[in-house]
Amino acid sequence: MSIIKSIALAVLFLIGGYIKSRADDTWPRPYHKSYLKISQWWLVADQHYTDRGLIDPNVTNGIFNTSLYAEYGLTNRLTGVIYFPFFSRNYFNNQISQTTGDLLKKGEALNSVGDTDISIRYAISRPGAGLALSGTMLLGLPIGKTGGGATGTLQTGDGEFNQMFEFGMGTAGTYKNVPVYLKASIALNNRTGGFSDEFRYGLEIGMGIFNEKMWIGGGLVGVESFKNGKLPSQVQSTSIFANNTEYTSYGFEINYYVTKKVGLSFGYASAFRGEIIFTAPSYSVGVFYDGK
C-alpha cells in the first residue's frame, strides 16, 4: 500500500468514513445499512521530506485517485469496508532547459486501477455503548501497477500485500447542545516484499452544526516505520514511494448533507513532519450516500 494512498485512506477512515449523521449514531454500520462515497483525491508535489526529515526538491509529481469507498453492516457488530481506487493516475512533469528551452526529459503518466483495501470491522463493545471499541482487520491488495514509464518510476500501487490490524475507540456527546465526537486509533501494519512494518496512530475530533446538516472533523494521522525491511536502495520498487517512510499529518473534512442521506464532502490533509514522503497537501472532494 503506497504511503500517499495510506494518507488518503487514513483520512478517509478516520474522518470521511466515520463522520456520523447523528451524534449518537452507531459504530459500526447497523445491520444492512450502508455508506457509499465516490471521491476524487489528488496531490501535486515538487518537494519531499528526506530521510533526515529535511525538505528537498523533486520533479513535480502528481497523483490522482478516483475511488469508491463503501461500508456495509453485515451484522449489528460486523461491518465490511472496501476502498477501491478504480482510476489512479500518476505522472511527472517534463523537464525543460532554462537556457535553450529544449525538452530534456519528457514527462510521463501511468493510468490504472490502484491498490485496493478490504477490511472487516468488529464492534468489541456493545453497539450504542458510551465508549465504542472496535477492531479492524485490513488487507491491502496490490492490484495497482508498479514500475511504470520508461524509467519504471511511475506507480499506482506498491506491489506488496499488507495486513493491518487496527484498534479504535470513540465516544460521542454534546457540548453546548452541539453534537461532538472524539475518536482515537492505533494499528500495526505488516508489510511484505521487503517493506518495513509500521505502527500507525490517529486522533479525530468532530462536531455537527446547522442541525447536523454539516459535520466538520479534524485530526492527526501518523506512521512510524520499524525500519526492519530492506533499505530503500534495495527494494525492488523504483518508485518515489520508497521504503521506511514516516510522517505525521493533520487534516480535516467537511461533510454537508444536501438531503437526509446524500451529501457532499471536502477534505484536506498535509504532513508537517516526515521522512521520504511528499510535503505537499492533498485534497479530496466527493459525493456520499449515508444509508444511516
Binding site: 528537498d56 523533486n58 537556457t99 530534456l104 536502495s233
Partner: protein, 213 residues
C-alpha cells in the same frame, strides 16, 4: 478530473559558461618535435558542439610556435604560455591557456584527475575520488572516506560536462556501494572527456551531489 490532468513543465536551471577544453594536454614537448593539440567546445549547457573558429597563440613563438590547426612545434629550449580562444554562440569569448616546456622528451600531462564529493541537498554524500588513465580505459576510484545515503530508491552516478544536468552525460551505473573504497572501470570514456562527477536520483529526477575534476 483524473483524466484531464495534464503533464506540466519543470524548468532546469542548467546554464553554465561555454568552454574550450584540451583533450590531450602535455607538459613537455621534445626539442624539434611537433604535436597536434585536440580541442573540444562545450556550449552553455555543457553539450559538445562542432568546434567554433578559434585562434591559437604562443607567448614565445621563438621557443614554441603554433599554427591555425593547433599544431605546436618546439624550436628551442625554454617555456611558453600557449592559449586558444574563440567566440561562443552567445557572443562571449571562451578560451583556455597552459604552460608548455621544451625539453628532451615529450611528456603527457598528469594521467589522473581528482575531486571531492559534496552533497547539494540533504542527503549524505561525501568522499574523495580519482579518475585515472589506463591505456584504452579509465578507472574511477573512491577513497575509504566515501559515504552515500542508502535512503534513495535509485541513485546513479554520471560523468557530465554540466554540474547541474545529466543531459548528454555518461551514465556509469546504479550506485551499489555506499561506504568505503571501490572503483568503476569505464571503457568508453577518455580521461579529459568530462569535467564533473554527478550523483543523481532517477525517481526524484534531482541531483544529489558530486564534484568537479
Amino acid at each position: 478530473m483524473s483524466l484531464s490532468v495534464c503533464i506540466g513543465d519543470d524548468i532546469l536551471f542548467d546554464r553554465i559558461e561555454a568552454q574550450l577544453r584540451l583533450l590531450n594536454p602535455i607538459d613537455t614537448l621534445a626539442m624539434g618535435d611537433s604535436y597536434q593539440f585536440e580541442l573540444a567546445y562545450f556550449n552553455m549547457t555543457g553539450v559538445e558542439e562542432n568546434r567554433q573558429e578559434v585562434t591559437w597563440y604562443s607567448s614565445a613563438t621563438e621557443i614554441i610556435s603554433i599554427d591555425r590547426q593547433g599544431i605546436a612545434l618546439a624550436r628551442m629550449e625554454g617555456r611558453s604560455i600557449l592559449s586558444v580562444a574563440g567566440i561562443s554562440r552567445g557572443g562571449t569569448t571562451v578560451g583556455t591557456e597552459w604552460a608548455l616546456v621544451v625539453g628532451t622528451s615529450t611528456i603527457l600531462s598528469g594521467t589522473t584527475r581528482k575531486g571531492k564529493l559534496t552533497s547539494t541537498n540533504s542527503y549524505l554524500l561525501t568522499g574523495d575520488f580519482q579518475l585515472s588513465d589506463s591505456s584504452d580505459r579509465v578507472a574511477l576510484a573512491f577513497s575509504d572516506n566515501y559515504s552515500a545515503s542508502t535512503a534513495l530508491p535509485g541513485l546513479y552516478v554520471y560523468l557530465s560536462n554540466n554540474p547541474n544536468s545529466i543531459d548528454s552525460a555518461f551514465e556509469i551505473g546504479k550506485v551499489e556501494v555506499f561506504e568505503g573504497m571501490h572503483q568503476y572501470v569505464i571503457k568508453e570514456v577518455k580521461i579529459n572527456d568530462y569535467a564533473h562527477l554527478i550523483y543523481y536520483c532517477k525517481p526524484f529526477q534531482v541531483k544529489v551531489g558530486g564534484g568537479p575534476f
